[in-house]
């Protein structure tokens, strides 16, 4: 029933077994149809930390902040040792490897360009010599 008080509680207040006030800090970001979302962030950060972190942000940034906290909490639950910091390490390694590969390919290109330019310039010198001989003739 849409008007039922019980079903209008957000996932956080349901989890915490308390009344959900109209100005509840959690309710826009933890809807009742996704109880796992709040359970996850609560497990890592705790309700008061989440509430405080959201409260300290302007309203238009809170949704993204809540999403990021949820992703980080999921990472931490899945990987209790490294959490999402594991992704940062992996990305650093991949970037380093890509930079190395790019440098190799660019060095090969430079090598070819260099050799080609030298060959071209010696051909031009030969042509120059030929033309000046013709002029003198």
């Amino acid at each position: 029933d849409y008007l039922s008080m019980n079903s209008s509680r957000c996932a956080a207040c349901k989890y915490l077994r308390k009344r959900c006030p109209s100005e509840c800090i959690f309710s826009p970001y933890f809807p009742p149809n996704n109880p796992q979302r709040f359970a996850c962030v609560h497990r890592i950060y705790g309700a008061s930390n989440i509430g405080r972190m959201l409260q300290q942000l302007p309203v238009y940034l809170r949704a993204e902040a809540a999403d990021c906290l949820y992703y980080e909490a999921q990472c931490r639950i899945e990987n209790p040792v490294y959490g999402c910091v594991g992704m940062i390490s992996t990305l650093h390694q991949q970037i380093f490897s890509a930079q190395e590969q790019l440098a190799k390919v660019q060095a090969e290109i430079a090598l070819i360009n260099n050799a080609y330019t030298q060959q071209e310039s010696s051909q031009f010198q030969q042509l120059d010599g030929l033309l000046s001989n013709l002029n003198n003739f």
Binding site: R43, I44, Y45, G46, S48, N49, M53, Q56, L57, L61, E64, A65, C68, L69, Y71, E72, Q74, C75, R76, E78, N79, P80, V81, Y82, G83, C84, V85, G86, M87, I88, T90, L91, H92, Q94, I95, S97, A98, Q99, Q101, L102, K104, V105, Q106, E108, I109, I112, N113, A115, Y116, Q119
Partner: protein, 162 residues
Amino acid sequence: MKGSETRSSSSCAACKFLKRRCTPNCIFAPYFRSDEPTKFAKVHKVFGASNVSKILSEVPEEQREDAVNSLAYEAEARLRDPVYGCIGAIAMLQKKMVELQHDLTIARARLAHYASSSPLLNDDQAITLPPPIDPSPSSSSSGFPESFLLSQQPIWSDEDLN
């Protein structure tokens, strides 16, 4: 002069912060030394002492130092960037990775073009291209997006990520 409670001079940073006695089997003591007070303060501010204690107790002892360091990193990131935290850093690194892949694709194409059209190369001088890199960062099984689309610019700069 004499204090009402005796604090051990080897009280760890966590117990000093929490103003409690540091027991010999304190879970925090090996990882939050008293000469690094801000490390625990930051972790406490973001995660809370009991959550950190719970996370540490679920991790094998030999991995707890890594766990603490990654929690400290995450807490620092969250305090610097209260909206995106670590996700801001991940988004920047993913963006850098996409740019590098783009540059690499173009460079390989150029090299292949030169290799096929250059009169300098004999048949036995074939250029071997380095193998392509795996384009996607190893994502976890929980279905994280391959790239985070943020509506605001994260606080992280290039130097922070190096």
